[in-house]
């Protein structure tokens, strides 16, 4: 806001309104590009630091050597442990951030992220059953979790569907109800588990990057490469839908079809991310509003939210690994961060007089 008023003040009396609009639009788009660049650089720095720093520190030259395939000191730690871990963290964060902002924008509610409205609860229930009842391999658990997340989202959509189409409020509430049911399935399965299995399952349920390997990274990479461009292409229509379903329809957006497509792409991103690292709590929830806040009211926050999600997971995982004495799963840290942020978000929206 200040940027605009600063610009308006020195304007010559003869300057036309059009010039002012053009100039301020250019200014906003510069800010947009700048924010995205800064976030991208921050992600790269965090990624690089999580390769070099840790219990043992290596130089950047060592890391480059390992990436180029030379046999240098620390090639096991860097090549087999840190690279898959950091890549998984960054990609999962990206996926969660993108999916979260998509849902929040589409449902016009900062609390309506996929993790809060229960999209990932299907993945959790499937994973717990896979680990504890069927004793599956980690890769099979991932596959099962992906399928289950998609199935849950479809069930939520269909249950929220009535003759008038899908109302956003109904979608949110049905999601909450269904996830309450699925989490009782989780606690039933946990109730019969041995103590050791229980800890494995609980680690999975909190979301962590310990199981990251090159093999498990592959499906996530493929999903990212395929789905992210589609989602970014859809953000234009998403921006129109932000104005309300009727306005969007008047602008020529096929609302119901776009909504289904957006849900499918965002849920698929959630599903592959959850399969790779478990439902890391609140990454999807936190990233969107923070990205929107950094960006200001200039266009879609979806990409910025993805970048912020990647940054959040990388940093939180590093802190959870080395800074707290005990090694915590990353999801415990992000979940605990989410609580104060929730309060902040609500207090701020109250001050603004807006409704959530």
């Amino acid at each position: 806001m200040t940027a605009i008023s600063e610009h308006v003040a020195p304007a010559e009396p003869g300057t036309s309104t059009l010039d002012i609009v053009v100039a301020s639009r250019r200014r906003r788009s510069h800010r947009r590009i700048l924010v995205h660049l800064v976030l991208a650089v921050a992600v790269l720095v965090a990624f690089w630091l999580s390769l070099t720093l840790g219990r043992t520190n290596y130089s950047s030259a060592d890391v480059i050597g390992v990436i180029l395939g030379h046999d240098v000191e620390g090639s096991f730690t860097i090549g087999t442990l840190r690279i898959p871990r950091a890549s998984t963290g960054a990609l999962v964060g990206l996926a969660f951030g993108l999916a979260g902002a998509t849902f929040q924008t589409m449902l016009r509610n900062p609390l309506a992220s996929p993790d809060v409205i229960g999209i990932s609860s299907g993945a959790s229930a499937a994973a717990v059953i896979g680990i504890l009842v069927l004793n599956l391999e980690p890769s099979a658990v991932s596959l099962l979790a992906t399928v289950a997340a998609l199935a849950t989202a479809m069930a939520v959509y269909l249950l929220a569907y009535t003759r008038g189409g899908v109302a956003n409020t109904r979608l949110i509430l049905v999601g909450i109800g269904l996830s309450a049911m699925l989490s009782s399935v989780v606690s039933y399965v946990l109730s019969g588990a041995a103590a050791w299995d229980m800890q494995v399952a609980m680690r999975w349920l909190s979301g962590n990057l310990n199981g990251a390997t090159h093999e498990r990274l592959v499906p996530l990479v493929i999903a990212t490469v395929v789905l992210v461009p589609v989602l970014l292409w859809l953000t234009r229509d998403l921006e129109a839908m932000r104005l309300g379903d009727q306005t969007a329809a008047a602008l020529g957006v096929p609302v119901e079809r776009r909504r289904i497509l957006l849900i499918i792409v965002a849920v698929a991103l959630m599903a592959f991310g959850t399969a790779a690292a478990g439902p890391i709590a609140f990454v999807a929830f936190l990233s969107g509003p923070i990205a929107a806040r950094i960006l200001g009211p200039v266009g879609s926050p979806v990409l910025a939210s993805g970048l912020f999600g990647a940054l959040l997971v990388l940093v939180a995982d590093f802190v959870a690994q080395y800074a707290l004495g005990t090694k915590f799963p990353v999801g415990v840290l992000t979940g605990a961060l989410g609580a104060p942020f929730l309060i902040y978000l609500l207090v701020r929206s109250n001050r603004a007089g807006g409704s959530l």
Binding site: L111, A180, S183, I343
Partner: protein
């Protein structure tokens, strides 16, 4: 959801009262049947003679011993069910919200976090300690969710409350894992509490929570007039001479005591508080003076029946009652959501 007060005068009124009395008697009969079923069925089914002898205190046969063991369990299920049913009716009345339920609103998660904190940091291990911790946790969580959900334009809409509750529950359960993961030995204690159900019932436990439940029930029932006024909206209620905030606080206190004490003994049990008041409202209307006591009976029926079903379906590894109520209750929740007009949500 409009909870308008029914004020039909004269003959109509008397007829309504007798219809309600009839409903009450009917529900009590159903409750008695469910209780008999609860003592009778299980891994070992009991015949009529053994049942009578067992209730009288006989221990000669295995069947009679089974009856003796199942009696406290049945009584506990009735008490917990009644408490949760009333807590749900009070919550729905106080928030004027058809979706109010301790599970949806994150109240159970608050109780869980408080109990975990007690177990891990203060070495809590007694049932009476659980009660106080669970109650404080439940109160804190409901206060938080309610104030968060009523921020902003439009006050506490069902949607805002449900979202605030869901987000709070996620945050609180992350904190639960954060506390539990480094403490494997406490995980076991917590697990046995969190899936408690009514299986571990003893007369001692019942004696422990009975006073809390009694106080909670009395507070709730005595608030029923106030809840009727609140249903008309805050301004109208104030116009009728109601101290809006004081009544709301008192009624919530009753609900929180009931919900916290029930959760402390039986672990988090969802959806009883959601389903029961809705069904009872269909039977006797929206007057809280009837709604609250009948929700107690209805809750007792639902929880006892769910416990019996869990025992029959699960065989030797019985399914905890909270899981059965969630599996029945969540579709009911979705049904209510689908039935409401969107603008009312």
């Amino acid at each position: 959801m409009t909870l308008a007060v029914n004020t039909r005068p004269g003959v109509e009124h008397r007829r309504a009262v007798s219809a309600r009395l009839l409903t009450t008697v009917g529900l009590l009969v159903v409750l008695a049947l469910v209780c008999v079923a609860s003592v009778t069925f299980g891994v070992l089914d009991v015949g009529w003679n053994d049942l009578v002898a067992g209730v009288m205190g006989g221990q000669e046969t295995t069947a009679q011993a089974a009856v003796v063991k199942r009696m406290p369990r049945t009584v506990l299920a009735v008490l917990i069910g009644a408490a949760l049913g009333v807590a749900g009716a009070v919550m729905q009345g106080v928030t004027r919200n058809p979706l109010a339920d301790p599970e949806i609103f994150g109240v159970n998660a608050g109780a869980s976090l408080a109990v975990v904190t007690g177990i891990v940091f203060l070495g809590l291990s007694s049932q009476s300690g659980y009660i106080w911790f669970a109650m404080v946790g439940a109160a804190a969580a409901s206060l938080f969710v309610y104030s968060v959900g009523s921020l902003g334009r439009g006050g506490a809409t069902p949607l805002k409350l449900a979202l605030a509750g869901a987000a709070t529950a996620v945050a609180l359960s992350s904190l639960v894992s954060a506390i539990l993961l480094p403490n494997v030995q406490d995980m076991e204690t917590f697990r046995s509490w969190s899936i408690g159900g009514v299986g571990g019932a003893t007369w001692d436990k019942i004696a422990l929570i009975a006073p809390f439940l009694l106080v909670g029930l009395l507070i709730s029932w005595s608030s029923s007039r106030a809840l009727n006024s609140l249903a008309l909206g805050d301004e109208l209620a104030a116009g009728l001479g109601e101290h809006v905030n004081r009544s709301r606080l008192l009624a919530s206190l009753g609900g929180v005591i009931l919900c916290g004490a029930a959760t402390a003994i039986a672990g988090p049990i969802g959806f009883v508080g959601l389903v029961v008041p809705h069904v009872v409202r269909l039977l006797v209307g929206v007057d809280h003076r009837w709604l609250i006591p009948l929700s107690a009976i209805g809750g007792a029926i639902l929880l006892t029946a769910a416990d019996v079903v869990g025992r029959l379906v699960g065989g030797t590894e019985e399914i905890q009652v909270g899981i059965i109520t969630s599996i029945v209750g969540a579709p009911f929740f979705i049904w209510i959501v689908r039935r409401q007009k969107v603008r009312e949500l």
